[in-house]
């Protein structure tokens, strides 16, 4: 059991406070900008995905995924 690695999102000095909402949003936004710019298989994008998956409330991720499909995402993730 000791060889299972358990970790969470590392400290990001841009978001030093307890409220990590902005950190969640930034990671989600950065992940999709990353794969839009570099392709889905670009490995370094994975870190952003892991970050938003652990930081963000499931509701938020679900809502943004839906908005992405409808094309109504209120922020840009292209280019």
């Amino acid at each position: 059991m000791s060889d299972i690695e358990i970790k969470t999102t590392p400290f990001d000095a841009r978001f030093p406070n307890t409220n990590q909402s902005k950190h969640c949003w930034q990671s989600y936004s950065d992940y999709f900008k990353c794969i839009n710019a570099r392709g889905e298989d670009f490995a370094p994008c994975k870190d952003f995905k892991k970050a938003y998956q652990s930081l963000c409330p499931a509701d938020w991720v679900g809502k943004w995924d839906e908005q992405r499909e409808e094309g109504t995402l209120p922020f840009k993730v292209t280019v």
Partner: protein, 265 residues
């Protein structure tokens, strides 16, 4: 009227109904405003009555002050200084009111929330081009600041025609500004209900416009009094107050233009 000599330069006013009338009118206005917003019966009617009685009380009170100062000679230099200081303090309180509106704007605009998509302006808001009508309005107000200063200097130099023309020009520029703002409001691509962007925009520009209307009336009263020989070259506190108020309105507009129209787009 004065029947005794006083050994001090101050004006101890005679009993007047206007302070009480004004406060009752304001009480009616505020309470009925709440009634109106909450759909209580007769809210709208009482609100109208409240607003009318507020305007009436103020007009009759100011009329009495003009009578005391211009026709009864109660406004010595000391009294004039007191009135000017009091008016400046009032303008400072208005400045704080606008500070609250700007605070609300910066609170929302400097760190846009996740719900807005961390963007300002929020996605979907079609901002107004600052270099079209807003720039014209800026030029109109700056020019009106110049014309009102010219009129003031005309009064001090005893040039009656120049003073009157300057004040008329100021009022025309003010009316043009108000007209263009009205046009912008009618043709705007977003409303007050369009997210916090619309709220902060219309609250601030709306209250600014209301102050422009008040300032315009204030200057118009000054014009009326110049025409009717109320003022002398060095005793015209009413006009000086109007001019101070007008410059305040102008400066607030400059800040609105820079932060809401230019920076906020």
């Amino acid at each position: 009227m004065q029947k005794t000599i006083q050994s001090h330069p101050f004006h101890l006013v005679e009993p007047s109904p206007w302070p009480l009338a004004a406060s009752l009118a304001l009480l009616t206005t505020t309470l009925s405003g709440v009634m109106y917003f909450n759909n209580y019966a007769n809210g709208g009617l009482l609100l109208t009555l409240g607003l009318i009685s507020t305007v009436l009380s103020m007009s009759l009170w100011f009329r009495d002050i003009i009578i005391e100062g211009t026709f009864q000679g109660s406004h010595t230099s000391k009294v004039q200084q007191g009135l000017t200081l009091g008016f400046i303090l009032f303008v400072i309180s208005e400045v704080f009111f606008f500070i609250s509106l700007f605070w609300a704007f910066f609170h929302s605009a400097l760190s846009p929330t996740v719900e807005l998509g961390c963007m300002w302006p929020p996605a979907g808001i079609q901002v107004m081009n600052p270099w079209e009508v807003p720039l014209l309005n800026t030029v109109l107000l700056l020019s009106s600041g110049a014309t009102v200063t010219l009129a003031h200097h005309g009064l001090i130099q005893g040039n009656r025609k120049f003073t009157i023309y300057g004040l008329i020009a100021t009022i025309i520029l003010a009316i043009l500004f108000t007209g263009f703002q009205g046009f912008e409001y009618i043709n705007a691509p977003f409303t007050i209900a369009d997210s916090v962007y619309g709220s902060t925009f219309y609250f601030t520009t709306g209250f600014h416009g209301f102050h422009v209307l008040i300032g315009t009336i204030f200057i118009a009263v000054g014009l009326y009094r110049v025409i009717n020989y109320h003022f002398t070259d060095f005793h015209h506190v009413g006009l000086e107050a109007a001019i101070i108020y007008w410059h305040f309105v102008d400066i607030v507009w400059l800040l609105v233009f820079i932060f809401f129209y230019y920076w906020g787009s």
